[in-house]
C-alpha cells in the first residue's frame, strides 16, 4: 500500500513536470502546445484522483527530504484521509477543466505556452499544499499556488480591468500570507517544532491567549484565500478576469484550500479551543452566505455572478465547519463530526457544480464575446448541450433535489438544527439565526440561478452576437457532461461520498458522525431526519412518465399550435419586451436597498420638437459594496497617506541611506539583546 502511494505520487509529479517542460519546448507550436500541456494536466489530475482514492481507503505515505530546505526540517510530505479528501476535490475540479482547456484555449494563440506552464505549476502546488507536513513546505507551496494563479489571472493583461484585478489579488494574497506567516512562526516558536503534526500534542501546554491570537490571524489568512466576507474583495474581480477554465479551477478548487487550512488549525493544530472560535466561524459563514448570494443576484456579468456565488457557497461550508467547532467545544463529538461531514460534502459538491457552471459560462462567453447577460438570451436553442448542462449545474447549486447540492444543504440544515443539544441559550439563538440565514441563502440562490439560466439561455436573443453562437466543441461538452453526471450521481447516491467521508472525519476528530446511511437512505441522529434520495428521484421520474402516459389514456388533445407570445396587441415581438437581468433583480434591490445602497440614474433624451418623442433612455442602477466602502476604502486611504509621508525618507541620497542602515542595525542589536 505504502509503495503504491509513493509511486503514484511520484508519477503525478512527473506528469506535471513533463507538462511544464512541454510548455517551454513546444512554445512555438500553438496547437501542439495546448494539447501537450493540458493533456499532461489532465493525466496528472487523473493520477491525483487515484492517489486520493488510495488515501481515502487508508493508504498513507510519508516523505521526508531533509536535503531540500535543510534549515527548517526539510521538505516533509504525508498523506492522511483528510488530505486525501481534498485531493479528491482537486482532482474532480481540475480534470474536467483540463479536458475543456484543450480546445477552449485555442482562442489564446500567443499565450498557450505561459498558460500551460503556469497551470502545470498551479495544480501540483495545490496538491503539495494539501500534503505538506511542516511549516516551510506548506508556506512554500502555498505561495507557489498564489503566484501561479496570479499569472493565470493575468493572462489577458492587455485589459486594464484584468491588471487591476490581478493587482488586488496579489495584494490580498500577500496580506493573507503575512497573517499565515505570523501565525505559523508564532506557533512554531511556542511549540518548539516546525512539524505541524506535533503541534496538536503540545497545544494544550501553550498559553490560551497565544492560541487565540494565532487562531485569529491564521483564520484571517485562510479565510482570505477562501474568499469569505469580509476578505472576499479579490474574488469577484479575479475570477471573472481569468480564462474560464482557470476561473473554474480557482473557484471550484483553490478557494477550498482556505477551508482546508482552517479545518486543520481549528480542529487539529491548535488543539481544543474555546467555543467562541466556532461562533466566529459560524457568523462569518452566515454573513458570507447571505451577502454573497445577495451580491450575486444583482450582477449582470455572468462570471461575476458565479464568482459571488462562490462567496456564498464558502459561507455554507463555513456554517458546517463553525457548527462543528461549537459542537466540539461542548464535547458533542459525533455531532461535530456530522457538521464537518456536511461542510466537506458541500466542498466537494461546490467543486463539481461551480466548475461545471464556469465551464458553461466560458463556452457562452466564447461564442457571444461578452460576459454581459443583458446581451444574451435564446442560447438554449443555439447551444442545446451547453444549456442543458448549465441547467443541471443551476439546479444543483440552488440546492434542489435530486442533485448533489440538496444533499449537502440538507445535511447542513440538520446539523444546525441538532444544535438544541448545546445547553447555552445564546448559542441556541445564534444557531437559529444561522438556520434562517441558510434558508434565505437557499431561496435567494434559487432566484439567482433562475436569473442566470433564464436570462442567458431562454427567450429571444438580446444582442446580435447571439445569432452567430454555435455549440461548444466535443471535448468541452464531454467535460461538462462528466460534471453533470457527477452532480446527479452524488445527489441520488450520497453513500458514494458519505462512506469514505465519514471514515475520514472519524479518523480526523476521533468520533464517528451521528449519521447512518446505506444505498437507500440517510438518517441523521436516528429518527431526527431521514431521507431516501435515490427512491425520491426514481419516484419523480416514474411520476413524470405516468402523467405523460396517463394524459394519453385520458384522451387528451395532444395537438400543439405555435403562435406568438401574448403582448397586449403590439405589432411584433422583439427582445426589447423581455425582462432583463436588471429588471429581474429589481425587487431584491428594493427589498434590500439598505444593503445595496444603490445609485439609480435615468437619463431620457427627448426629441427637440416634443418631449413625448423619446430618442434614447439610459438607465443605470448600480450597487455598491458596503464592505468595500466601509472597510477597504479607509484602509487604502490610510496606506496611501502613510506612503506619501514615507516618501520623504526616500531622498535618493546615498549618505542618508547609509545612515538608515546604521540605525536599523543598532536597533536590531539592541532589540535582540
Amino acid at each position: 500500500m505504502l509503495e503504491s502511494a509513493t509511486i503514484l505520487f511520484s508519477s503525478t509529479l512527473m506528469f506535471f513536470a513533463s507538462g511544464a517542460i512541454g510548455a517551454l519546448v513546444c512554445a512555438r507550436h500553438h496547437d501542439l502546445c495546448r494539447r501537450v500541456t493540458h493533456g499532461f494536466v489532465f493525466g496528472g489530475s487523473v493520477l491525483i484522483f487515484g492517489l486520493s482514492i488510495l488515501g481515502l481507503f487508508g493508504g498513507r505515505f510519508e516523505l521526508l527530504l531533509p536535503g531540500i530546505l535543510p534549515f527548517a526540517g526539510g521538505l516533509a510530505l504525508g498523506l492522511d484521509r483528510l488530505s486525501a479528501f481534498f485531493l479528491l476535490i482537486i482532482a474532480t475540479g481540475v480534470a474536467p477543466s483540463a479536458l475543456y482547456a484543450i480546445s477552449y484555449t485555442r482562442h489564446y494563440p500567443q499565450k498557450q505556452s505561459s498558460m500551460g506552464f503556469m497551470l502545470n505549476i498551479f495544480v501540483p502546488a495545490m496538491m503539495l499544499v494539501v500534503l505538506a507536513r511542516n511549516v516551510l513546505t506548506f508556506l512554500l507551496f502555498w505561495e507557489a499556488m498564489s503566484l501561479a494563479s496570479y499569472f493565470l489571472v493575468m493572462t489577458e493583461s492587455e485589459h486594464e480591468e484584468t491588471c487591476k484585478a490581478g493587482w488586488l489579488y496579489l495584494v490580498m494574497m500577500h496580506a493573507g500570507l503575512a497573517c499565515l506567516l505570523i501565525g505559523f512562526l508564532a506557533m512554531s516558536q511556542a511549540s518548539g517544532t516546525f512539524d505541524m503534526s506535533e503541534w496538536a500534542r503540545s497545544a494544550s501546554g501553550i498559553d490560551m491567549g497565544m492560541r487565540n491570537l494565532v487562531f485569529l490571524v491564521m483564520a484571517a489568512g485562510f479565510l482570505s484565500k477562501a474568499g469569505a466576507i469580509p476578505f472576499h474583495v479579490w474574488l469577484p474581480r479575479a475570477h471573472p478576469a481569468a480564462p474560464s477554465h482557470v476561473s473554474a479551477v480557482m473557484s471550484g478548487v483553490m478557494i477550498k484550500l482556505g477551508v482546508y487550512g482552517l479545518i486543520r488549525i481549528a480542529f487539529e493544530w491548535l488543539g481544543q479551543g474555546p467555543a467562541w472560535w466556532g461562533a466566529v466561524i459560524l457568523m462569518v459563514g452566515a454573513v458570507s452566505a447571505l451577502l454573497g448570494v445577495l451580491y450575486a443576484l444583482v450582477q449582470h456579468d455572468l462570471k461575476s455572478l458565479l464568482a459571488f456565488s462562490s462567496v456564498e457557497n464558502i459561507g455554507i461550508i463555513l456554517l458546517g465547519v463553525g457548527a462543528g467547532l461549537l459542537f466540539r467545544a461542548y464535547n458533542l463529538g459525533s455531532l461535530a463530526s456530522l457538521a464537518l461531514v456536511a461542510g466537506l460534502y458541500h466542498c466537494l459538491n461546490h467543486a463539481i457544480f461551480k466548475t461545471l457552471l464556469f465551464l458553461g459560462a466560458g463556452a457562452v462567453v466564447e461564442e457571444t464575446h461578452t460576459r454581459n447577460m443583458e446581451e444574451m438570451g435564446g442560447l438554449l436553442k443555439r447551444m442545446p448541450h451547453t444549456g442543458g448542462y448549465f441547467l443541471i449545474g443551476s439546479l444543483a447549486i440552488a440546492g434542489l433535489p435530486p442533485f448533489n447540492g440538496f444533499i449537502s444543504e440538507w445535511l447542513t440544515f440538520q446539523a444546525l438544527m441538532l444544535s438544541f443539544n448545546i445547553p447555552v441559550q445564546f448559542l441556541n439563538l445564534l444557531f437559529a439565526l444561522s438556520i434562517a440565514a441558510l434558508a434565505m441563502t437557499a431561496g435567494l440562490a434559487a432566484a439567482c440561478f433562475v436569473k442566470a439560466f433564464g436570462i442567458t439561455f431562454l427567450a429571444l436573443p438580446r444582442g446580435e452576437t447571439v445569432d452567430q453562437a454555435h455549440e461548444a466543441s466535443r471535448t468541452m461538452r464531454a467535460s461538462m457532461g462528466l460534471l453533470s453526471v457527477a452532480c446527479l450521481a452524488l445527489g441520488v447516491l450520497p453513500a458514494l461520498v458519505l462512506r469514505p467521508l465519514s471514515n475520514t472525519i472519524a479518523e480526523f476528530i476521533g468520533d464517528r458522525p451521528e449519521l447512518s446511511f446505506n444505498w437507500n437512505n440517510i438518517s441523521a441522529a436516528d429518527v431526527f431526519a431521514v431521507i431516501a434520495p435515490f427512491w425520491m428521484a426514481m419516484i419523480l421520474v416514474v411520476l413524470i412518465l405516468t402523467v405523460w402516459v396517463g394524459l394519453h389514456a385520458f384522451g387528451t388533445n395532444f395537438h400543439r399550435r405555435y403562435y406568438e407570445t401574448w403582448g397586449c396587441g403590439r405589432a411584433l415581438q422583439t427582445a426589447a419586451f423581455e425582462y432583463t437581468a436588471a429588471a429581474f433583480a429589481y425587487p431584491f434591490k428594493r427589498v434590500f436597498a439598505l444593503l445595496y445602497r444603490s445609485i439609480e440614474e435615468t437619463e431620457i433624451e427627448a426629441h427637440p420638437e416634443s418631449r413625448f418623442f423619446v430618442k434614447t433612455i439610459t438607465y443605470r442602477h448600480e450597487t455598491r459594496s458596503i464592505i468595500e466602502d466601509s472597510v477597504y476604502a479607509p484602509i487604502a486611504a490610510t496606506v496611501r497617506r502613510l506612503a506619501a509621508k514615507a516618501r520623504k525618507l526616500q531622498s535618493g541620497n546615498v549618505h542618508s541611506y547609509l545612515f538608515y542602515i546604521l540605525v536599523a542595525l543598532l536597533a536590531l542589536v539592541l532589540f535582540a539583546k
Binding site: 440546492g399 434542489l400 434565505m440 433562475v450 427567450a459 405555435y562 425582462y579
Partner: protein, 314 residues
C-alpha cells in the same frame, strides 16, 4: 404490508383527487360571502376536463424548458402528496416524510415555473418570475424557522414523527411556542400558495398578478397540469396546518376505523381552514408588492419567538 400500501395509495388519491374540490369549496364560499351565487364546487374538475381536450397554443419563442415544466411541476406535487401524512402517520413510505425535503421539492417546482415564465419572452412572464422568486426567497427563512420550532418539540424533522408527537401530547396545543409557530406557518402558507394578501389567484390585472403572470402563456393540457398542481399545493399546505398543529383524528395505526375517523377529521379541518381562507380573502385587500416583505418579516419574528420560547421554557 399490503394494508399499508393500500392506505398510502388511498391517502395519496384523497390528496391529488380531492385537491380541486377544495379549491371549488373555497371559491364557492368566497362567492357566497361576497353575495354572489358562484360556480359549483365541482367547477375546477370541469375546468380541468375542458382544458385537457383543448389544443395547446404555444409561443414560438419558447424552448423545451417551457414544455417540460408542466410535467415537472405536477410531478413534484404528486410526489409531495406522497410525503405528507394526510390521513395516517403509518404509511408505507416512511422514508419520504422529511419536511425539509418536502420544502425543497416545492421549490423545485417553483424553480421550473419561474424559468418557464421567462421563456416566452414577454414582460408579464418576467415580472411574475422575478416576483415569485423574491417572495419564495423571503418566505424561506420563515419556513425553516417554523419547521425548526416544530422539530424542537417533536424531536424530529419527519412529518409523521411530528404528527405522532402532537397526537401523544395534547397539552402541546396550549404551548405558546406552538401557537406562534402556527401563526407564522399560516402566513407562509398564504405566501407559498399565492393567496391573498400576498397574491390574488383570481386576478388577471397586469400589474398585480404574480402566479397568474407566470402561467399566462400556458394553455390546454399544460395549463390543466399546472392548475391541478396549484390546487394540490393548496391542499397540502392546509393539510399540514391542520395535521401538524391540530392533529386530532389522524390515524396513528393502520386500522379501518381509525382511517374512517381520519377522513372525517380531515374533512372537518380542511372545511374550517377553507372557510377561514375564504373569509380572509373576502375581508382583506392585496398588499402592495413591496409591503409583502414586511408581512413576511413579521411572520419570521413570530417563528423566531416560537424557537426562543422553546429554549427559555425547557
Amino acid at each position: 404490508m399490503t394494508l399499508e400500501v393500500a392506505i398510502t395509495a388511498l391517502q395519496w388519491l384523497v390528496a391529488v383527487l380531492g385537491a380541486p374540490l377544495l379549491v371549488g369549496i373555497v371559491g364557492k364560499t368566497k362567492a357566497r360571502l361576497q353575495g354572489r351565487r358562484g360556480a359549483g364546487v365541482w367547477q375546477p374538475y370541469r375546468n380541468l376536463r375542458k382544458l385537457l381536450v383543448k389544443e395547446v397554443v404555444i409561443s414560438g419563442t419558447t424552448s423545451w424548458v417551457f414544455r417540460l415544466t408542466p410535467y415537472v411541476v405536477i410531478s413534484t406535487m404528486l410526489l409531495s402528496a406522497l410525503m405528507v401524512p394526510v390521513l395516517t402517520t403509518s404509511g408505507a413510505l416512511p422514508f419520504l416524510g422529511n419536511i425539509i425535503m418536502l420544502m425543497s421539492v416545492f421549490l423545485l417546482g417553483t424553480f421550473f415555473l419561474a424559468l418557464a415564465a421567462l421563456d416566452a419572452g414577454s414582460s408579464f412572464g418576467g415580472m411574475g418570475s422575478s416576483r415569485e422568486m423574491a417572495i419564495a426567497a423571503l418566505a424561506e427563512p420563515t419556513v425553516m424557522i417554523a419547521i425548526f420550532a416544530i422539530a424542537l418539540r417533536a424531536g424530529s424533522t419527519d412529518l409523521n414523527e411530528m404528527v405522532r408527537r402532537s397526537v401523544s401530547d395534547p397539552l402541546l396545543l396550549l404551548n405558546p411556542g406552538h401557537l406562534l409557530a402556527f401563526l407564522s406557518f399560516v402566513i407562509v402558507a398564504l405566501a407559498e400558495t399565492g393567496r391573498l394578501p400576498v397574491d390574488n389567484p383570481s386576478t388577471h390585472l397586469e400589474l398585480t398578478m404574480i402566479h397568474e403572470a407566470m402561467i399566462l402563456e400556458y394553455s390546454g393540457r399544460y395549463l390543466a397540469l399546472i392548475e391541478w398542481a396549484s390546487s394540490i399545493k393548496l391542499f397540502l399546505f392546509l393539510t399540514l396546518l391542520g395535521n401538524i398543529f391540530f392533529p386530532w383524528g389522524v390515524a396513528v395505526t393502520p386500522e379501518p376505523v381509525a382511517l374512517v375517523i381520519g377522513v372525517v377529521a380531515l374533512a372537518i379541518k380542511l372545511g374550517v381552514l377553507a372557510l377561514g381562507l375564504a373569509i380572509l380573502e373576502t375581508s382583506v385587500a392585496k398588499l402592495r408588492l413591496f409591503l409583502v416583505p414586511e408581512l413576511l418579516s413579521g411572520s419570521f419574528l413570530l417563528a423566531l419567538l416560537a424557537v426562543i420560547s422553546f429554549f427559555f421554557l425547557r
